[in-house]
């Protein structure tokens, strides 16, 4: 299997002394379902942001789907975010003025996908996550679980190789959390999408291929 993410001695220093990441080298294979855990401040979110091309490291290298990431090249970063990477954030990450369907369609607009194709793919996604009947609802009219289903659809709609999820079940009750986790795992198995999930919640660890523990910016062996 090919590596979808490969980091080499990744460093991130905030200011002079705060080593958020201190020499992280990890490999995530295509199709893997990997969770990243660690206490608050262990560097989980920083690692996700750097792999997701939202932040740049102060040292080390990152390879996404075989491409060496040049963090000084905004065009490459945008292109990777558009085509290779999908993001799922905590709740409240949807655009409040757009309906569920429009939120899902939103990334495709930036990629320049034609309108009819966007509609078709959006409908497929709504069906996949089981909220086709909620397509015209605004985020404020949806439950927390439904909102996360929309967010998951938005992350997947451009057909990324890698989905990064930062606390996808934070702010959700346990029943809803389980539903979302089951959905993510199901997508991983059926579509072969690689998942890298940051979480506090032990329930997500079940069914993962692998868990990476971080502590003080280092991988705990």
């Amino acid at each position: 299997m090919a590596a979808i993410v490969r980091t080499e001695n990744l460093q991130k220093v905030f200011g002079r002394h705060v080593h958020a990441l201190d020499g992280i080298s990890i490999i995530v294979e295509e199709g893997e379902y990997v969770t990243v855990t660690g206490r608050s401040g262990s560097g989980k979110s920083t690692l996700m942001n750097i792999i997701g091309c939202l932040d740049q490291p102060t040292g080390g290298t990152v390879e996404i789907a075989g491409q060496n990431v040049d963090y000084s090249d905004p065009e490459q970063l945008v292109s990777l975010r558009r085509s290779k990477i999908g993001f799922i954030f905590q709740q409240f990450s949807l655009i409040p003025s757009m309906t569920a369907a429009e939120n899902i369609e939103y990334p495709l607009i930036f990629s320049g996908v034609p309108g009819s194709e966007r509609k078709r793919r959006t409908m497929d996604m709504l069906e996949l996550v089981g909220i086709l009947d909620r397509s015209d609802h605004l985020p404020g009219e949806l439950s927390g679980g439904q909102q996360q289903r929309v967010a998951i659809s938005r992350a997947l709609v451009a057909g990324p190789n890698l989905v990064l999820a930062d606390e996808p079940t934070g702010n959700l009750d346990s029943t809803t959390s389980n539903e979302i986790i089951t959905l993510l795992k199901q997508i991983n198995e059926e579509m072969g999408t690689t998942f890298l999930i940051v979480t506090h919640e032990p329930s997500i660890w079940f069914g993962t291929d692998r868990t990476i523990h971080l502590s003080d910016g280092k991988v705990v062996p």
Binding site: N49, G52, L54, D55, P74, E75, V78, R81, R82, G86, F87, F89, F92, S93, I95, P96, S97, M98, Y106, P107, I109, F110, S111, G112, R154, A155, A158
Partner: protein, 398 residues
């Protein structure tokens, strides 16, 4: 690259999300546009009324062309230039003339024009109260209505009379040595209400002396200014009722400029309101913008989206501003007209039946353009601020 239609749809959704804020922001720029449209319309209206009054009250198609002095050099009226004027497509008739001042033996001074009688007829369409026109080179003369009246009363000169006029000249020793000219009065013109009423017209047929004026009749009032431009292009100067129009236009250019400068202050305030609104809006949406970047928006996309929101505010401001401006102009027209007439008196009674405001397409288009351009300028800073957000930081903010 995002399609413009998609940008417009998304931006429209965003600006109308907070309806009251959008409305107030639009109103800010709209009031500025309305003030400018109203004031400029008033200026243009009074300008056009004044010009119409001048056109009604004066003979706009008559020009007198004179030799001009430029940089200390006199540019004479040559035969070539006369021919050029006569060939001008906007000119119906042009007659070269000499202006001469005579005195009668009783020292009554009078002005005379020595010009070809056929040409005079074509330019001035002379009609006779009595008698007939002069014949070339015969020493015959025709009096204007007022002049005939004066000379009949004080000098006893009537049609058919021979009379003597003097031109003041000096001999070698510097003493006055008047030259005497004999004339025969053959006709008197009808009253015209212009300079000709006080003039004597002769036709000496003299080919040697230079001409110092050309009387020109222009086809219609509309082509006066182009003809004047071409005459001035020959190095000559032109005079006539059009100069009043020119003066009025210059005056109103300044008035309109100064007034729109003052009302422009409200536009500046409107622009600042847009900037303020957009800065707040970008701040409130920091996380949203970060997420948009995470899911594929480039800095350029964000810049375009924010500027597009400003563009929408500008269009709405321009439309509402123009509508308010037209209403404003209507109010000035109905209320202001009576005030103007009461203040300026009967001399301006021409204002009574006419509109004192003139909303031209140019004013409307300018109002629209000002609103859009100002909105876009106001949006540059907030848009740049949004596009330069660091996505990871932006997403962290709540």
């Amino acid at each position: 690259m995002v399609k413009m239609t998609d940008v417009a749809t998304i931006s429209f959704r965003q600006v109308t999300r907070k309806r009251l804020r959008f409305f107030l922001t639009v109103l800010g720029i709209a009031i500025g546009v309305a003030a400018v449209v109203g004031v400029v319309s008033l200026g243009e209206g009074v300008r056009s009324l004044s010009v119409e009054m001048i056109k009604d009250q004066s003979d706009l198609t008559l020009l007198e062309v004179n030799a001009d002095i430029r940089d200390g050099v006199t540019i004479p009226i040559t035969g070539q230039k006369i021919a050029d004027i006569q060939r001008d497509p906007g000119v119906v008739g042009a007659v070269p003339a000499r202006r001469i001042t005579y005195a009668t033996e009783r020292q009554t001074f009078l002005s005379a024009v020595d010009a070809g009688s056929a040409g005079m007829q074509s330019v001035f369409s002379l009609t006779y109260l009595d008698g007939r026109s002069v014949e070339t080179g015969t020493g015959e003369a025709v009096f204007g209505y007022d002049l005939a009246e004066t000379l009949r009363r004080y000098e006893g000169i009537r049609i058919g009379d021979r009379f003597t006029l003097l031109v003041r000249d000096y001999d070698e020793d510097g003493r006055p040595a008047d030259i005497r000219h004999e004339f025969l009065l053959t006709g008197v013109l009808r009253e015209r209400g212009d300079e000709l009423d006080r003039l004597m017209i002769t036709d000496t047929g003299n080919k040697d002396e230079p001409f110092d004026a050309v009387f020109v009749r222009v086809v219609s009032p509309d082509v006066v200014f182009p003809v004047v431009d071409r005459v001035e292009g020959l190095g000559l100067s032109a005079h006539g009722a059009f100069e009043q129009i020119r003066a009025v236009n210059k005056l109103f250019d300044i008035i309109v400029l100064v007034l729109s400068g003052f009302t422009g202050i409200s536009l500046v305030i409107g622009a600042l309101m847009i900037m303020n609104t957009m800065i707040i809006s970008v701040f409130e949406r920091t996380r949203e913008i970060g997420i948009s970047m995470a899911i594929g928006a480039s800095s350029g996309d964000i810049l375009r989206l924010i500027l597009s929101e400003c563009f929408i505010i500008g269009i709405a401001g321009g439309i509402i501003g123009n509508l308010l401006g037209i209403v404003f102009a209507g109010v000035i027209n109905s209320v202001g007209r009576n005030v103007v007439i009461a203040e300026l008196g009967a001399g301006f009674s021409g204002f009574a039946g006419a509109d004192i405001v003139l909303v031209t397409p140019g004013v409307i288009i300018s109002g629209m353009a000002i609103a859009i351009v100002l909105s876009l300028i106001s949006g540059i800073y907030p848009a740049l601020k949004a596009s330069r957000l660091h996505p990871a930081d932006a997403i962290r903010s709540l």
